[in-house]
Amino acid sequence: MTATTAKSGFVQGVIEGLPFIIVGAPFALLFGVVATAAGLDLAQTVAMSALVIAGASQFTAVQLMSEVAPVWVVLVAALTVNLRMAMYSAALQPHLGAAPLWQRIFISYINVDSSFALSLQKYEENEMTLGAKVAYFAGTMMFMGPLWIICSWVGAVAGARMFDGIALDFAMPILFMALAAPMLKSLAHLAAAVTSVLAALALVWMPSGLGLIAAAILAMIVGAEVERRRAA
């Protein structure tokens, strides 16, 4: 797989993105249910999924809205949860920074945990042209993106009764753990992951999102340091 063309990059992205539907779709269904219960109408529920495409922050927002929190609290809490994506943006820059502006705008719009994690791993393990990298990224969201929106709509329409007895609350944790586990391919990666868990647990008292950022920066430092020492 040394020369990946744009077309085969897109196809690979589509195929390797497919597994996320299994856990991503129920997660979006649940969002539709919760958002409706919090007082959003159908259009608002679907619009939030289409414009934000970030499960964790959408859940944070509707959770606080169901408690009728002040608007600024809703916004600050939901958006700090998304600050990690600035790190995703920085990690993608060396790979995709040379792409045309419209492509960088599009990639930014669909830069979510799964598309980012899949793509960065792909870029590091394969020799790919810029076009193939962009196409792969788009491919990973080919089904997940539209499904995210459609399933939010279905969840909002169908309501809570549909999911009696199903532990949908755990769809997101399982999805994110399944994403991270195959990446634990060196001692440095393992050290970063363990640091991330311990630091995040130790910092849960910080405002939602900020503790995670601090834990992530610490984990990156540990990972990079382990890599440097083992290479030296």
């Binding site: 299994i22 856990v23 007082g39 619009a47 939030m48 414009l51 934000v52 922050s57 959408q58 927002a61 809205m65 608007v71 916004l75 958006l79 998304n82 790190m87 995703y88 943006s89 920085a90 820059q93 060396p94 920074g97 502006l101 960088r104 930014s108 719009y109 830069n111 945990d113 994690a117 899949l118 960065l120 007895g165 199903i166 532990a167 609350d169 755990f170 997101m172 944790p173 399982i174 753990m177 399944a178 994403l179 991270a180 586990a181 195959p182 634990l184 990666h189 970063a192 992951a193 991330s196 995040a200 647990l201 995670l212 992530a216 984990a219 990156m220 430092i221 990972g223 990079a224 890599e227």
Partner: protein, 108 residues
Amino acid sequence: MTYSDTTIWLIIAVMGVVTFLIRFSFLGLLGDRDMPEWLLRHLRYTPVAVLPGLVAPLVLWPDATGGEPDAARLIAAAVTVLVGWWRKSVIWGALAGVATLATLLSLS
């Protein structure tokens, strides 16, 4: 008291625009300028530095049980990580986790 329709739309619009700007930040504004090697070495660990920390509190103190640690969820989490790591596969990890959780919850 609840929010007016306009307020809800405002929240959605601000979330959408600011989330986009966060995602666009480095990728959009730096273009193809080179970042120093030390910084790249750190950024390689972004996914494994963020995802485990993001889920750790959710696994240990799930909302669904009112924040009480829950054996079924803890075991399902362990199975997800072990199978995902062993098979080097996202799909097998996720399927194993979902199956474990469904089985354990149906037994309890």
